[in-house]
């Protein structure tokens, strides 16, 4: 399923290359904006993050966007709108697994062509030396973030069975993930009380925690708190997904007629 998904994603190579190019442009634009903020304020650092560290931070954030901004809701929405959800039902496969695999195929390519290169750029411009523990923590955090993103994506995608068109809802959800995950503003620049709440949310572990783990600017206590919170959220969202899917699948009428 992943193989054919990757082939399908790369069917129009030029279009994909152009899309990839603009992901890098987006990262550079964010860096330009923050350069303007630092230079405009005339400061060397804001809340402990220097300008070079902000550059690295956002290269990591944009690398992680390839992991976190999953295609899952769009996959389900397309199936519902086109009625091809019926096609999924006639095969000896469980539908949620099918969509996860199809989303994973698209995500894998994103990781290969965006996440890895941006991580490489971040490593090249930073003076960070990654220890084994840091690498292990990064892998754990990214895995937790990926699972959380897919669970959120699946729950959002299932609303398409009722609402049919969820493009606006999708945009809101992913914007919320980016905002509350430190994808627009590093979380340590927010008020302390807000930071404490967000470390316990599913969002911090998706973006902010891996980025600051890489930089070495986040405390071990916060890392452990966020990892633990992430695991609890995985369990909770998995149960919600399972229950919701059981209820929603009886309502698939877009296939009927």
């Amino acid at each position: 399923m992943i193989t054919i998904g990757i082939k399908d994603e790369l069917a129009y190579k030029l279009d994909y290359i152009i899309w990839l190019f603009f992901q890098f442009i987006n990262a550079l634009l964010m860096i330009l904006i923050w350069s303007a903020i630092y230079l405009g304020m005339g400061v060397a650092s804001i809340r402990g993050l220097s300008l070079p560290e902000i550059y690295v931070y956002f290269f990591i954030i944009y690398a992680l966007r390839g992991v976190v901004l999953t295609q899952l809701p769009e996959v389900i929405e397309d199936d519902v709108q086109e009625g091809s959800i019926a096609t999924a039902y006639i095969r000896p496969l469980i539908y949620p697994i099918q969509v996860y695999m199809r989303g994973a195929a698209q995500d894998l390519i994103g990781m290969l062509f965006i996440t890895v290169p941006l991580f490489v750029i971040a490593m090249a411009i930073s003076h960070v030396t990654l220890t084994l523990i840091t690498v292990v923590l990064l892998i754990i955090e990214i895995l937790i973030g990926y699972v959380l993103a897919n669970l959120i994506g699946f729950i959002v995608g299932m609303t398409a069975i009722k609402l049919i068109n969820i493009s606006s809802l999708e945009a809101i959800i992913w914007s919320t993930v980016l905002l509350l995950g430190g994808g627009i503003v590093p979380l340590n620049m927010l008020p302390q009380i807000v930071q404490q709440i967000l470390y316990l949310s599913p969002f911090a572990i998706m973006l902010y925690i891996p980025a600051t783990t890489f930089l070495g600017t986040v405390s071990t206590g916060i890392i452990i708190t966020s990892i633990f919170a992430g695991l609890v959220w995985i369990a909770l969202l998995a149960v919600i997904s399972f229950i919701a899917w059981g209820k929603v699948r009886r309502q698939i009428t877009s296939a009927g007629g």
Partner: protein, 324 residues
């Protein structure tokens, strides 16, 4: 005969809506109502039969197929397909059935058809050697050798439908459901699909259930089930359907244009200069008056034929509209 499909008192309704009124505000106002798609439908199908599910658009054919394949749940009634409850045992049933949904392609649009076939091979765990043999068989019988390695988006509708058929039957299912498989398909492709169905039935005992509103599609079937507004109104052999209106004959007579003839034998279907077409009772053909007419020197030529099934069904639908 072993039963592969058993349906008992199946009913299904959908909640849908229509616009409450016209104008700009109509976008915001909806009138919800319940549409009865199926009403107490019961029938059974034996192994190796080719059965057509006929009916006008909106008669419930596709809903019935989707219940039989486990895509939808009925509101009431029982269904047994190859010993499985389709919606409770969907996964187990899926290994043994193939489904061709005319409106929804299984093919990956941007990839060669072969890639989808290979994908299906892996899903259904078809051994490599067996897959090659079966693919060669289908490519030959459906004449796909020039196209199946090309992207699906470059194919004609007929070629895509044939590829859909292959994708749904590569695993040699016991029962194949085809929901409007010939919509927009050219004559050659239709003929190829029919040939494939007949061969599969003969060689492998495959059962086919085919929904259509196109009368010509039922030329190969053993049996016809007809739905009208969700009810099963006919269940029998195709010949029985024809015999319901089998008393009529169409006679075309060519005659000398200025001849004065008494053509009062039945309903005039067409009258032109020197030619007429009449619908008459079969008994008229043996009457002395008719025989005398045909013996007249003014008659140039004549032919007798049976009304097409299209006309027969049109009459049947008209009668059903009066009753329901």
């Amino acid at each position: 005969m072993e039963k592969v499909v058993e349906v008992a008192n199946v009913s299904k309704s959908f909640k849908t809506y229509e616009r409450a009124s016209s104008g700009f505000l109509a976008s915001f106002r909806r009138h919800y109502y319940t549409k009865k798609a199926l009403i107490s439908v019961s029938f059974s199908i034996g192994r190796g039969q080719i059965v057509a599910l006929l009916g006008r658009n909106g008669s419930g054919k596709s809903t019935l197929i989707k219940i039989l394949t486990g895509i939808l749940y009925p509101d009431s009634g029982t269904v047994n397909v190859l010993g499985f409850n389709p919606w409770k045992e969907r996964m187990k049933l899926a290994w043994n059935i193939g489904v061709v949904l005319g409106a929804h392609s299984q093919m990956y649009w941007n990839l060669p058809a072969y890639d989808t076939f290979e994908y299906m091979r892996k899903i259904y765990k078809v051994p490599e050697e067996e897959f090659k043999k079966r693919l060669a068989y289908f490519v030959d019988i459906l004449d796909l050798k020039d196209v199946y390695k090309e992207p699906v988006r470059t194919m004609s509708l007929g070629e895509r439908m044939k590829c859909n058929f292959v994708a749904s039957t590569l695993h040699m299912p016991q029962v194949v459901f085809l929901d409007e498989p010939t919509i927009g398909v050219d004559m050659m492709s239709k003929a190829a699909l029919k040939k494939a169905m007949l061969e599969m039935r003969a060689k492998y005992g495959t059962t086919f259930i085919l929904t259509t509103h196109i009368v010509e599609d039922i030329s190969i079937v053993d049996r016809v089930l007809m739905l009208h507004k969700g009810r099963l109104v006919f269940d029998g052999a195709k010949e029985k359907l024809e015999h319901m209106f089998g008393n009529k004959r169409v006679v075309e007579i060519k005659f000398v244009s200025d001849a004065k003839l008494n053509l009062n034998f039945g309903k005039v279907l067409y009258m032109g200069t020197g030619i007429t077409r009449l619908e008459v009772n079969a008994s008229v053909l043996k009457s002395r008056r008719f025989i005398n007419l045909l013996s007249s020197k003014s008659i140039i030529d004549y032919s007798v034929s049976t009304p097409g099934l299209s006309e027969l069904l049109a009459k049947m639908y008209a009668n059903l509209e009066k009753v329901h």
